[in-house]
């Protein structure tokens, strides 16, 4: 049985060596070939003298090499850190430095964007470029290896690791400060794959179209679940939503995972009637799917089963609503996934009554190992499990999600809101202070506050109020927005920028009063702000 992440491919390569594991554009890779590529990569990692537990950053779009690097890292006993390909150099630099990445795997063009930040990454010793010709770039103290040099099949001595060891670090935002690295063990990831493939009833004939980034848990699950059951993952980097529909048809896809903004774009397009004949299921996570969107999807895809899911990276995956319940409870986020328990509790840890709002707490094998090198934030989110048996002397830790939910009398969960200031937009969690810091570092503003306002398609839209510096007092909202587009990934670019001449409102501690400011703007905008967005 698979216990480590790379076992997922290894076992399938033994039983079904010629099944197709991956397809990207015109390239198809069987499980046997994928396994060989993974060994090439792992051997190179061992040759470069990395040791068990070293971090390997992977910054690339979805392509075969990206997948090979993730699993090859696992095989070499190291920790893979997939970096969202949408991130800009400053954010990449933060991650490389934060978890002391010693090997970076990236593409030639992405490498050229990083030239100005690599000197900040003190621990970086090696770069593997997904290219077969050497770029004319030299870095002090960093050794460059080409992907085409990964050809060594001779058996290496790989470090011995167990499923409790760290497999990956996935970066995610919270309500304050810089992104945090969620530490996942091999057990977390393998248990997640087993649990999800059980309730989606996945099998070896499934073909999943992977459109979500591989850098967060729901996206990574696209790979791990398919490798577990021996199915095929078709990788896609899309610019236009209609290309997704074309590929669903062309590749006879059986499953598609998406986030609400994607579904909202997709239902506005033409769908071939034949797609629902092979598209067995779709899954939604990363936010609530609007009623009308779900209705349109069910109309466009009458034979396709929709699964509504909820999860947070800290506990991998948490709940899902079975398709059979969708008619009667379409607002529900469902019940716990197999082998997890979901509690709804009051602040003191006592259980809520039916319909009483409380914090969602997840316990079980999916609970991550904490935030990388961040004991304070870890202590806020990973806390003793409520209602532990008094005779059990070792404290069990559970994830306190920060999401407020309620349970109906049949045990189905409903999302109510958050108890902190995290902005949830386009399926991402965004920290207000990360946006504020970008504005401050631009030196264009003296004061800034960022918060989320309700938005019908995005979940939250990002609203920013700024007071400009005197030298820049003529700047327009458009100029500020362009500055944001240069420095922030698309999902973090504010939708509303308000320029004020006054100092921002303070609370009794003398801090900018984000709460009052956000409440007043929420009321001004109302529930449906779609009109203000293009």
């Amino acid at each position: 049985m698979a216990t480590l992440v790379h076992h997922l491919v290894e076992e399938t390569a033994q039983h079904k060596p010629y099944h197709i594991a991956l397809k990207y554009r015109e390239t198809t890779i069987s499980y046997k070939q994928l396994h060989t590529e993974i060994l090439f990569f792992a051997n190179k990692v061992v040759d470069l003298s990395l040791i068990a537990g070293d971090r390997i950053g992977i910054y690339a779009e979805k392509r075969v090499e990206t997948v090979v690097a993730m699993l090859g890292t696992s095989k070499a006993g190291c920790v893979f850190v997939p970096i969202n390909p949408l991130l800009k150099p400053d954010q990449v630099a933060f991650i490389l430095d934060n978890c002391s990445i010693s090997l970076l795997v990236t593409t030639l063009d992405r490498l050229s964007t990083l030239l100005n930040i690599l000197h900040q990454c003190k621990d970086l010793k090696h770069i593997i470029v997904m290219a077969d010709v050497s770029p004319e770039i030299k870095f002090q103290g960093i050794k460059l290896t080409l992907w085409s040099e990964l050809k060594n099949v001779t058996f290496k001595k790989y470090p011995k690791i167990i499923d409790q060891d760290i497999a990956a670090i996935l970066y995610t935002s919270g309500s304050t400060g810089k992104p945090k690295g969620v530490i996942l063990s091999h057990r977390n990831i393998v248990a997640g794959a087993i649990s999800v493939s059980e309730y989606l009833e996945l099998n070896e004939s499934d073909r999943l179209l992977a459109v979500l980034p591989l850098s967060f848990d729901y996206g990574m699950n696209q790979l791990t679940t398919m490798f577990l059951v021996g199915g095929c993952v078709v990788l896609m980097n899309h610019l236009f939503p209609k290309d997704i529909i074309t590929l669903l048809d062309k590749e006879k896809i059986t499953g598609l995972a998406g986030v609400p903004p994607l579904w909202i774009q997709l239902v506005q397009l033409q769908w071939q009637d034949s797609i629902t004949e092979h598209l067995r299921f779709i899954t939604n996570s990363g936010g609530h799917m609007p009623k009308e969107t779900l209705a349109s999807l069910r109309n466009l895809l009458p034979r396709t089963k929709p699964y509504l899911m909820y999860g947070l990276t800290e506990a991998f995956r948490s709940t899902y609503l079975p398709p059979s319940e969708i008619e009667t409870r379409q607002d529900s986020m469902g019940k716990a996934i197999p082998n997890a328990e979901i509690l709804v509790v009051r602040p003191d840890g006592t259980p809520c009554r039916p319909e009483e709002p409380g914090e969602l707490v997840h316990r079980g094998v999916h609970v991550a190992l904490g935030y990388w090198n961040n004991p304070e934030k870890t202590a806020e989110r990973f806390k003793p499990c409520p209602m532990q048996n008094k005779c059990l002397p070792i404290t069990e830790l559970a994830v306190w999600s920060g999401d407020i939910v309620k349970k109906d009398k049949d045990g189905y969960l409903y999302y109510v809101g958050r108890n902190d200031e995290t902005i949830k937009t386009s399926g991402y969690r965004v920290s207000p202070s990360e946006i504020e810091e970008m504005f401050y570092s631009s030196k264009l503003v003296v004061e800034v506050v960022a918060f989320g306002v309700p938005h019908s398609t995005l979940g939250h839209a990002i609203y920013v109020i700024v007071k400009l510096t005197e030298n820049n007092s003529n700047l327009s909202e458009t100029t500020l927005k362009l500055e944001c587009q240069k420095r922030l990934p698309a999902y973090m670019v504010p939708h509303f920028i308000e320029i004020t001449k006054d100092n921002l409102l303070r609370n009794s501690n003398g801090k900018i009063d984000r709460k009052t400011l956000s409440t007043s703007r929420k009321n001004q905008i109302g529930d449906d702000s779609a009109g203000a967005l293009k």
Binding site: E61, D109, R110, N237, F240, Q485, K534
Partner: protein
């Protein structure tokens, strides 16, 4: 004709460079280099900037139905698309 194509490609690179804030990086691109996925700045949000910059600078109209991933495969495919657009629209104006 050959000269026209070269000119169009050079102009295209500088338009992309400006629309995506690449500070000159696009000018160094190889014409066969893959654009889609490979250029971190080219995402679903930036594509709106790119499309309007192309319309403005090449004096063409781009409809939703015209565009798909194949057109944005490489600099060459994108240049060919613009070239065809210019040709067709010149005919329809004539």
């Amino acid at each position: 004709m050959r000269n026209d194509t070269t000119q169009l490609i050079e102009k295209l690179k500088s338009v992309l460079d400006a629309a995506l804030f690449l500070s000159g990086r696009a000018l160094q691109w190889n014409n066969q280099m893959s654009l889609l996925g490979n250029v971190p700045e080219l995402d679903s949000m930036a594509i709106m900037n790119v499309l309007s910059a192309l319309e403005l600078n090449f004096n063409i109209m781009i409809e939703d139905d015209d565009i798909n991933a194949d057109i944005f495969a490489t600099i060459e495919t994108l240049a060919e698309f613009i070239h065809q657009k210019q040709k067709n629209q010149a005919i329809s104006f004539a």
